[in-house]
C-alpha cells in the first residue's frame, strides 16, 4: 500500500525484533552510517559559517535529511550509480570523495575538479559514479534511466538511483523518467525526498494525491512511502528496491517522508513561510538523535565514542578548510577549456585575446554582488 508509511526505528530509538534478526547490517556498517551522518551535519553547520563569513558564496543544505539520503545510498554497491539533486553530500562521503575536494568546489578554486565553473554544492564525481549536479530541477531523472538502460544493454548488473524533491515531481521530466523506466523495465530506484517544502511552496501545492508514492501505480511500478528520518527503514526499503532492479524486475519509486530543518539555502529565510511550531515538531524527529538513541541502547556506541566521532568530524573539516584555502584560483585557460574536446578556432581566439587583455590591463575588477537566492 503506497500510503502507509514504513518505519523500522521508532522515535524512542527502539527497533522491531524482526528487523534485528533479519538485517544484514553489521555493527561496522551501523557505525559507518552514523559517522557519515555526523560528518554531513558538521559539513553543513561549518559550511554555513564559511558562507556567512564570506569564504564561500553560497550553500544549500540537507539538515534533517541525512538519514534519508545516507541510509538509502548505503544500500548500493560502489559500482551502482547515483544521480543526485543537490541535497545529498553524504552520498559523496560514502563514495570516498576527499573533504578537501568538496570544499575546494565550494570555493571554486584550482582544487575543484570542475575548476570553479559551477556554484557551490554543484559537485561532479565520476570516480564515485555520482552524476553531475545541475540546478535545473528534475533533469537528472531521465539521465538515471538512460544509465540504467545502457548498463543493462552492456550486461552490467548495476542499478541507478536518483534523488529529487517533491517539488520536482511536478516537472515533466519526473513523469517522463518514471514512464520510460517502467516501459523499458530499467534497473532504476527513484527516491523522492519529500521534505514538505519547495522553497516557500508546501507539498499541498504540488499534488493532491494521497502521497507521492502512490503515483508509481499509474506508471506500473511499486511505490513505497518510508519514514525518511528513519535511517534503518531507508536502508531496508532501498535495499529491497535495488535487489528488485538488479534481478531484472524493474524500477521502484520510494517516497522518503522527511523535513528540511534548515532554510532552502543560505539566501533563504524559512521563517517567512513556515507555520509556527512546525520546525520545532520536526526537530523532535531529528534523524541523528533517533539513530544515536538506538546505537547507545545497543552499546554499539557510547557517549564517549559519540563525542569522539563528532570531534573528529569537526577537526577533519577544520583541516580540510586549511588545506583548501591554500589553493589558488584555477588557471584562466580553464574558462575556455572543456566547452568542447577540441577548442574551436574562434574560441581559441577569444581565449588569447582575453589572456592578453588581463596581462596588459591587469585582472578585471571583481564587482559581483552576493547571490540573492
Amino acid at each position: 500500500m503506497s500510503s502507509e508509511i514504513i518505519q523500522v526505528l521508532k522515535e524512542d530509538g527502539t527497533v522491531s525484533p524482526l528487523f534485528k534478526k533479519e538485517t544484514d547490517l553489521t555493527e561496522q556498517d551501523l557505525k559507518k552510517i552514523y559517522e557519515t551522518m555526523i560528518l554531513t551535519r558538521v559539513y553543513e553547520e561549518r559550511s554555513l559559517k564559511l558562507q556567512r563569513s564570506g569564504r564561500i558564496g553560497f550553500y544549500i543544505g540537507c539538515k534533517g535529511q541525512e538519514a534519508s539520503h545516507i541510509g538509502s545510498a548505503y544500500a548500493l554497491k560502489m559500482d551502482d550509480w547515483v544521480f543526485p539533486a543537490y541535497r545529498e553530500p553524504g552520498v559523496l562521503f560514502l563514495r570516498g570523495i576527499a573533504l578537501k575536494t568538496m570544499i575546494c568546489q565550494m570555493m571554486g578554486n584550482a582544487g575543484d575538479p570542475t575548476m570553479g565553473r559551477q556554484m557551490p554544492c554543484h559537485y561532479s564525481y565520476k570516480e564515485g559514479n555520482n552524476g553531475s549536479v545541475s540546478s535545473p530541477l528534475a533533469t537528472q531523472i531521465p539521465h538515471a534511466v538512460g544509465i540504467a538502460y545502457a548498463a543493462k544493454y552492456m550486461k552490467h548488473k548495476i542499478v541507478s538511483l536518483t534523488y529529487f524533491g517533491e517539488g520536482s515531481t511536478s516537472e515533466g521530466d519526473f513523469h517522463t523518467g518514471l514512464n520510460f523506466a517502467a516501459v523499458f523495465k530499467s534497473p532504476v530506484v527513484f527516491i523522492c525526498q519529500n521534505n514538505q517544502w519547495a522553497i516557500s511552496v508546501p507539498v499541498a501545492r504540488q499534488t493532491v494525491s494521497e502521497s507521492i508514492a502512490i503515483k508509481a501505480k499509474a506508471y506500473g511500478m511499486p511505490g513505497i512511502k518510508v519514514d525518511g528520518n528513519d535511517v534503518l527503514a531507508m536502508y531496508q526499503v532501498t535495499k529491497d528496491a535495488v535487489e528488485r532492479a538488479r534481478n531484472g524486475d524493474g524500477p521502484t519509486l520510494i517516497e522518503s517522508f522527511t523535513y528540511r530543518l534548515g532554510s532552502h539555502s543560505s539566501s533563504d529565510d524559512a521563517a517567512r513561510y513556515r507555520p509556527e511550531g512546525e520546525l520545532e515538531s520536526w526537530e523532535q524527529k531529528d534523524p541523528i538523535i533517533r539513530f544515536e538513541k538506538y546505537l547507545l541502547s545497543e552499546n554499539i556506541l557510547t557517549p564517549e565514542s559519540i563525542k569522539k566521532i563528532k570531534d573528529d568530524a569537526e577537526e577533519e573539516f577544520t583541516q580540510a578548510v586549511k588545506e583548501a584555502e591554500k589553493v589558488g584560483l584555477p588557471p584562466l585557460e580553464t574558462l575556455f577549456t572543456g566547452v568542447y574536446k577540441d577548442m574551436p578556432e574562434s574560441l581559441r581566439e577569444q581565449m588569447e585575446d582575453l589572456i592578453n587583455e588581463q596581462k596588459r590591463l591587469g585582472a578585471s575588477e571583481d564587482n559581483s554582488m552576493a547571490f540573492p537566492l
Partner: protein
C-alpha cells in the same frame, strides 16, 4: 513621484494593473504568499488574494501552457519564470504555441501574456542563475522581447506589455533590481514598446546596449569623455520590435558603432544590430562595428567578473573604433 528601485517599480506596475483590470493575474513558483524569491510580487497576495496571485506547482511548461489557455479565454496572465535559466522546460510552449497562436489561427486566437523573468550575471549565480537568453526568443517571430534598464522604464514598459495584445518576454536585469533607484510616477503611465531611448547623447560614436549593460556603457562613456571622445549611448529597451530608425540615425550622426550585450558573443543579438547597420548605413561608417559580449562558454562561477563585459572592455572597443 517616488524614488523606487527597479524591483519596486515592477511591483508597482503589477499592483496598478491588477487594480485597474481584474483580468490581470500573476502566477508562478513562490510568487504568491512569499511574494516571489526576489519579492517582485510582494503584497499582491494580500491585496488580490490567492486566485490572482497564484502559487503554482513547480513546472515551467505548466505555468506557461496554462497562461496561454488563460490568455486565450480573455485573461491577462503575467507568469513569472523564477530565473530565465529555468525557462527551457517551457520553451516549447513559448516558441511553438504562444508565439504562433495568432498567426496559425488566422487571428481567431491570441495570447496576450507577459512572461516576466529575471536574467543576467554579476550576482555569483554560476551557470544556471546568470544567463541572458534573449537571442532564442528574439529569433522567434510572434514574440516581443522587452528589457528595461531603469526603474522608470521598467514600470512604463511593463504596463505597456500587460496591455499589449501579443505575448511579451519581459526580461528583468536582476543585477539592477536593488542597486539602482530612480524617480517613478505613482500613477499609471506607459513607455511605448519598440522605441529606443538615447540615454546619453554624443557625436563621436554610438554604443548600443540594453538592460544591465546600460550602466556599464555609461561608465565607459564617462571614461571616454576624459579622452575627449563624445559617446552616444542608445538603450534599445525592446529587441522585438526593434527601433531601427533610432539606431540608423545615431550611426549616421556618429559614423561609428559598438554593440554591448552579456550573452555569449556568437549568434547573440548584437550581431543583428551590426548586420542592420551594415545593411542600412554602411556608407556612414568610419570603422568596424565591434561587439563587446560574453564569451562563447557556459556562464562561469569563479571567473564571472572576467566573463562579463565591463566598462574597461567597452572603453577599449570605443578607442579601437575611434582609432581605426
Amino acid at each position: 513621484m517616488a524614488n523606487l528601485t527597479l524591483l519596486q517599480a515592477i511591483n508597482s506596475a503589477l499592483r496598478e494593473e491588477m487594480r485597474r483590470d481584474e483580468r490581470v493575474i500573476v502566477l508562478g513558483e513562490d510568487v504568491g504568499k512569499n511574494g516571489g524569491v526576489f519579492r517582485a510580487t510582494e503584497g499582491l497576495f494580500d491585496e488580490f488574494g490567492a486566485e490572482r496571485s497564484v502559487d503554482t506547482p513547480l513546472s515551467e511548461s505548466g505555468i506557461i501552457g496554462m497562461s496561454i489557455g488563460m490568455a486565450m479565454y480573455g485573461l491577462r496572465p503575467v507568469p513569472e519564470i523564477q530565473f530565465m535559466d529555468f525557462i527551457y522546460p517551457a520553451f516549447d510552449q513559448i516558441v511553438s504555441e504562444a508565439a504562433k497562436m495568432r498567426y496559425r489561427s488566422g487571428g481567431q486566437y491570441t495570447v496576450p501574456m507577459v512572461i516576466r523573468t529575471p536574467y543576467g550575471g554579476g550576482i555569483r549565480g554560476g551557470h544556471y542563475h546568470s544567463q541572458s537568453a534573449e537571442a532564442y526568443f528574439a529569433h522567434t517571430p510572434g514574440l516581443k522581447v522587452v528589457i528595461p534598464s531603469n526603474p522608470y522604464d521598467a514600470k512604463g514598459l511593463l504596463i505597456s506589455a500587460i496591455r499589449d495584445e501579443d505575448p511579451v518576454i519581459f526580461m528583468e536585469p536582476k543585477r539592477l533590481y536593488r542597486s539602482l533607484k530612480g524617480e517613478v510616477p505613482e500613477t499609471d503611465y506607459t513607455v511605448p514598446i519598440g522605441k529606443a531611448s538615447i540615454t546619453r547623447a554624443g557625436k563621436d560614436i554610438s554604443v548600443f546596449a540594453y538592460g544591465a549593460m546600460i550602466p556599464i556603457c555609461l561608465e565607459a562613456a564617462k571614461k571616454a569623455e576624459e579622452h575627449d571622445i563624445d559617446v552616444e549611448v542608445v538603450d534599445l529597451r525592446s529587441l522585438v520590435p526593434l527601433d531601427i530608425k533610432t539606431i540608423i540615425n545615431s550611426v549616421k550622426k556618429t559614423g561609428r558603432a559598438v554593440v554591448v550585450y552579456e550573452a555569449p558573443k556568437t549568434g547573440g543579438f548584437g550581431a543583428e544590430i551590426a548586420a542592420i547597420i551594415a545593411e542600412k548605413a554602411i556608407e556612414y561608417l568610419e570603422g568596424p562595428v565591434l561587439r563587446v559580449a560574453g564569451l562563447d562558454t557556459p556562464f562561469p562561477y569563479t571567473f564571472e567578473h572576467i566573463y562579463m563585459p565591463d566598462s574597461r572592455r567597452v572603453f577599449e572597443a570605443i578607442e579601437k573604433v575611434i582609432n581605426f
